[in-house]
Symmetry: C2
Subunit: 418 residues, 2 copies
């Protein structure tokens, strides 16, 4: 906690957008306005277009001045899904971070706020270290965001509750659609390494969602997470058992399921070579390949000899999971709060931090969370996975997961069946 | 209008379910309760499990007694998406209809209500004719339902507004996701022969949706309907032009797009042979093949020689379009009204009819519709398509379509951009 520098502040958004990432942007802006801007330590509040790309664009053309933005417009932006400043998939290395630091110097930036996942926390960390080594006073703050819910130190991350709400609502409607016409329905859900979002499908079971409904009337009947090795034979046996009993089967499957050896199932089922993204991973989202591959597999293997093929359908939920315009109300609130908290940490003289969310109370109707701080290194680059106590067997989640997730997603409709 | 017969009534649901098909079920039940049941002409109100399949099941095992259902439970069922009675894809021929008639006789059914599309209207028509020929008094009523919006005589059909709402909300969020990270985004929408649901994507543009925003800032930028022949070369040129100008392009495309010769594009792009459904059509829904095929085509053809491939993603919206648990409020109301109206027609002594929806007023904030009757033959088997005045050029919809569709979908959120 040293004396506060005077200069400009910059805010950026990075990685896959969420339904509430603009709440965090608004939170940082209003936190600065009432804090460091009011006290004169921050002169201008700047936004980076497309994350750190906006900062390394020459002459400041990639920056937008948010200092004078009026409160009503900021509120409308906060309620708009997806990154209002634009986002980026760039994952800065040392050389890139040097350019970021140069951009900060050029714009007299002393406060750096980056809204994103563990890569964004790492960018904050590297830039902060480079600035310190160069003797340039720069305060760096990471604001958490990811629908994958995979940041360490956090109870959960802003963006996840809204995506989980979408996945739960989708499975509620889809389970009844599946029951109407029968057959096997496969839903592929985002989350390459962490199964939290796929697990949220279980909330569609309502009160029965802490473990499968004994009568098996309500879907999803089977849930496959990236944390649990996926064995094709067991999968087919699971599906066959449910379908044989009910004449239908609703399956929630993570895009990132992998076998015992850790090899992803998606690319193995793909017809052609998948696209490789900037991080060297095979492109799984924005393609129906895994769902279609699993559907073809089920149809081929579960068609009785000389008999009729079961009706098998697959939906890949895709980008709507992270941009559906009706977020979880709690998520909107918390995403705003982590932004404000980052500005407050800066005003208190913190030199660098990652804002984290902690759960204070999880009792029904009395859920509460609070913001706190962690060191950047506690969050940067690291990933969290579904803990064993949230997983039940090879194809389900536990009652503990239900208790954890249910308060986050807001009201769910009541479904009545005949 | 002859004397009313005395006996039982039966209600069924057929074809692809919708978010509000149970409102129509509830409407028929409550219309009967206060009408023919109260007057003693209807003794029992029965539901068919899985449409007419439930009626041809021996011994009445496929029927459920709804006579004593309490109003609160009926209300909860009305608010639940997808067919509570179960649905069927069976398209009865003469022999099947004879079995239906036999089922009606066996259960002393004198009033037959079928909620569905033009195939369901045709089933009503055939069964009605068979009953008349056999001298068995049976009153047959078709209650309209289809997200495709393709029934003749109707301004629009229950189920369509809720699906259109989903498609509009999806494109609002997704357009901003596309703007955040750039690239080309393809969304495949249900509707094999009629483009109404795909056209609803235009509502995502907000006030600018009656024709493309001149600044092209807001998506969807391109809309491809089954009514407009799809030419691959023009498609690629359209996408190239928008992407070249904006660095992004959001595309709404119907699953049923076809070339000049009327051949569907989907199967042509598919890697393997598609599944053929009960109507002899290639299976287009529940598979990402068309979207993935178009994405691969765009990537292959629009990658500059020696240059970087554009980021191309495809989402196939799939079954969530018809079962999302938050329907359009107007749709819920109208779906209830057509059910009630069918029961009222029966009470008035009508021998057979298809209930239709007419628009009374379309002025903003004063939209109103009313129910009316048509002969079954005016609706049965026939299909409606997007009229020319709703289409603009090769890749857009008109202001007239916007004026037509906007009042149906309910409130849409306000999106603010930086």
């Amino acid at each position: 906690m040293s004396e506060l520098p005077t200069g400009n502040a910059v805010i950026g958004q990075s990685g896959g957008p969420t339904a509430v990432i603009n709440q965090s942007l608004a939170g940082v802006v209003e936190g600065l306005k009432t804090g460091l801007f009011a006290s004169g330590k921050v002169k201008r509040i700047l936004g980076m277009r497309h994350g750190v790309r906006g900062l390394i664009t020459s002459g400041g053309d990639g920056l937008v001045d948010l200092t004078g933005i009026d409160a009503e417009r900021l509120e409308r932006i906060a309620r708009t899904p997806s990154a209002a400043l634009g986002s980026t998939r760039d994952k800065p290395d040392e050389a890139y971070c040097q350019k970021i630091l140069d951009g900060c110097r050029a714009q007299d930036i002393r406060y750096f706020f980056y809204i994103g996942g563990n890569d964004s926390a790492d960018t904050c960390r590297i830039v902060n270290e480079k600035a310190a080594a160069a003797g340039y006073e720069l305060r760096c703050f990471h604001v958490p965001k990811t629908i994958d819910n995979d940041l360490l130190e956090n109870d959960h991350t802003p963006g996840f509750p809204s995506a989980a709400r979408y996945v739960a609502l989708a499975h509620m409607g889809d389970a009844l659609d599946n029951a109407s016409l029968g057959g096997i329905k496969i839903n592929v859900i985002m989350g390459r390494n962490a199964g939290f979002l796929t697990a949220a499908a279980a909330l569609a079971r309502g009160a029965a969602s802490g473990g499968a409904d004994p009568s098996m009337r309500v879907g999803p009947h089977l849930i496959y997470l990236p944390e649990v090795p996926f064995a094709t034979e067991s999968f087919l046996a699971d599906v066959d058992a449910v379908y044989g009993k009910l004449g239908r089967c609703q399956i929630a499957v993570s895009e990132g399921i992998r076998d015992e050896a850790g090899a992803e199932i998606g690319p193995k089922l793909m017809q052609g070579p998948g696209e490789v993204d900037a991080h060297g991973n095979v492109q799984l989202s924005g393609s129906g390949a895994l769902g279609d591959g699993l559907a073809a597999l089920v149809k081929r293997e579960l068609t009785p000899k000389g008999g009729k093929a079961p009706r098998v359908r697959a939906d890949t939920f895709g980008y709507l999971q992270r941009c559906w315009p009706h977020p979880s109300p709690i998520d909107a609130e918390e995403a705003r709060a982590v932004g404000r908290y980052a500005a407050a940490l800066a005003a208190q003289g913190d030199a660098s931090a990652s804002v984290i969310l902690r759960r204070v109370s999880s009792t029904p109707d009395a859920y509460r969370s609070e913001c706190a701080r962690a060191d950047l290194s506690q969050v940067a680059r690291l990933s969290r996975h579904m803990p064993p106590e949230f997983i039940s067997g090879a194809n389900d989640v536990s009652a503990a997961f239900h208790a954890y997730c249910r308060p986050l997603v807001g009201d769910l409709p009541v479904m009545e069946r005949l």
